[in-house]
C-alpha cells in the first residue's frame, strides 16, 4: 500500500512553514540595498593588495565587471546635468552603467568616474549591491584599446546629498584612480535616496582583454 508516511508530511510541512515565514518576512520588510559599514568607509591600510600599477594611455572604457557582487555591464558616456551634477544612464536599462566622458578614462592617471543606478521603478539595477563591496575587492574595466584595467577597492563610503564632498570624490589624483557611484544613504518618500554610495579604488594591474 502506498501510503505517505506521517514523517514525510511533517517534513514537508515544516519546510513549507520555514520557507513561507522567510519569504513573507523578507517580502514585506523591503530593507533596501546594502550599505557600507563605517570600517569600510575608512581607507584600507596599505598591504599586499594595494600595490600600484603604472597608468595607461587614455582609452574609452566599454565594460565594467565587479566579480564579488556579480556586476558585468556595458558602459555608456555621461555628461553633466544643467546643475553641474553628473548625469546618469537611462534608468529603464537596468544593467547599464556610465562613465564621465569629459574626465579621465579608467586606467589613465587621474580620477575616472563611473556611475549607475541602484534601482529603477521596477526594482534593483546594476549597482544595487555596490554598498556590499569591501576593501581589496576587484573592479575590472574593459577598454577599447584591448586592455583591461584592474582596480582594487580602497574604501566604500556613504555621503549625504546635502554635504557631498566634491573634491574628495571628483577631485584630481596623481595615480590612476576610479570612483564608482550609486544612490544610497537611506530613502524617504519625499526626497528619495538621501545620498550616494561611493567606492574608491586605484589601479593595481592591467592585462590584455580576454
Amino acid at each position: 500500500m502506498h501510503r505517505i508516511s506521517n514523517r514525510s508530511i511533517a517534513l514537508v510541512s515544516v519546510l513549507a512553514l520555514c520557507s513561507g515565514a522567510w519569504l513573507v518576512h523578507s517580502g514585506t520588510s523591503g530593507e533596501g540595498p546594502p550599505q557600507p559599514s563605517a570600517a569600510q568607509a575608512a581607507p584600507a591600510r596599505p598591504g599586499a593588495g594595494s600595490r600600484e600599477a603604472a597608468g595607461l594611455a587614455a582609452s574609452v572604457p566599454e565594460r565594467i565587471r565587479v566579480p564579488s557582487i556579480r556586476v558585468d555591464a556595458p558602459l555608456t558616456g555621461l555628461g553633466l546635468t544643467r546643475s553641474g551634477s553628473l548625469d546618469v544612464p537611462p534608468p529603464e536599462r537596468k544593467n547599464l552603467a556610465g562613465w564621465y566622458e569629459r574626465g579621465t578614462t579608467p586606467g589613465e592617471p587621474g580620477t575616472a568616474i563611473v556611475a549607475g543606478h541602484v534601482d529603477n521603478a521596477r526594482g534593483p539595477a546594476v549597482f544595487y549591491r555596490l554598498g556590499a563591496l569591501r576593501h581589496g575587492d576587484r573592479i575590472e574595466v574593459d577598454r577599447a584599446d584591448g586592455n583591461t584595467a584592474v582596480f582594487t577597492v580602497d574604501a566604500v563610503a556613504v555621503y549625504s546629498s546635502r554635504d557631498f564632498p566634491d573634491e574628495k570624490v571628483y577631485g584630481p589624483a596623481a595615480r590612476p584612480e576610479l570612483r564608482v557611484i550609486t544612490c544610497g544613504g537611506g530613502w524617504s518618500e519625499r526626497t528619495g535616496y538621501r545620498g550616494n554610495v561611493v567606492v574608491f579604488a586605484h589601479l593595481t594591474a592591467a592585462r590584455p582583454r580576454r
Binding site: 513573507v24 582609452s59 574626465g103 577599447a144
Partner: protein
C-alpha cells in the same frame, strides 16, 4: 533625429583607440549634440588636439572615409577597430582652428553616412570640469514590499497548514475518535 547616447543600444558598443589629448577639456556643461552613429572623443577639445571618432554605421564595409574639413583637418580614413563592427579613425585639429561646433562626417562605401559634433574651445579656457554634488541614481523601486515574494510565502504557509491539518486528521483517525 534620435539622441544616440540616450536611446540606441548600438551606440554603447564604443570603440576608440588611445589618444594623446586629455587636458583642456572645455567647461561647457551641456552635452554636445550628436548626429546619428558617429562618436567623437573627446567631444570637446582644443585646437591642436588629436580627436578619435568611431562608428558602427559601416558594419559590413570594414572601412569608411572621414571628413573633418569643417574644422580644417581635411579627410581621414576610418579602419576596422579591435571592436567588432566598428570602424575607427583619428585626425588632428589644426592649431589655428577657431572655437565653435563642427560637424565631423564619415561615409561608408555602401553609401551609409554618419556624423557627430566636435566642440572646440580655446586652450586654457578652463581646466577639465568635474561634476558637482550627488548623483541621482535611484528612485526607490527596489524598496518596499515585494508582492511576488510575499505571495509565494503565503502559498508556502498554506501548504504547511494543509500538511499540519492532514497529520492531525490522521492522528484522530488512528486513535479512533
Amino acid at each position: 533625429m534620435r539622441q544616440v547616447r540616450m536611446l540606441a543600444p548600438a551606440a554603447l558598443a564604443l570603440g576608440a583607440a588611445g589618444l594623446s589629448v586629455t587636458a583642456g577639456l572645455a567647461a561647457a556643461p551641456a552635452r554636445a549634440a550628436e548626429g546619428p552613429g558617429l562618436r567623437v572623443y573627446p567631444a570637446t577639445a582644443e585646437p591642436g588636439a588629436t580627436v578619435t571618432v568611431n562608428t558602427a554605421a559601416c558594419a559590413e564595409d570594414g572601412a569608411a572615409d572621414g571628413d573633418a574639413s569643417a574644422v580644417g583637418a581635411g579627410a581621414f580614413t576610418l579602419a576596422p577597430s579591435a571592436h567588432e563592427e566598428e570602424v575607427i579613425g583619428q585626425f588632428q585639429v589644426p592649431a589655428s582652428a577657431q572655437p565653435g561646433t563642427y560637424e565631423i562626417r564619415a561615409s561608408c562605401p555602401s553609401g551609409a553616412e554618419a556624423s557627430g559634433d566636435l566642440v572646440l574651445s580655446l586652450a586654457g579656457a578652463g581646466e577639465a570640469v568635474h561634476p558637482r554634488g550627488h548623483v541621482q541614481s535611484g528612485v526607490g523601486g527596489a524598496l518596499g514590499p515585494d508582492p511576488v515574494q510575499t505571495t509565494a510565502g503565503v502559498a508556502a504557509l498554506a501548504v504547511a497548514a494543509a500538511g499540519g491539518t492532514w497529520l492531525l486528521h490522521r492522528r484522530a483517525q488512528a486513535t479512533g475518535i
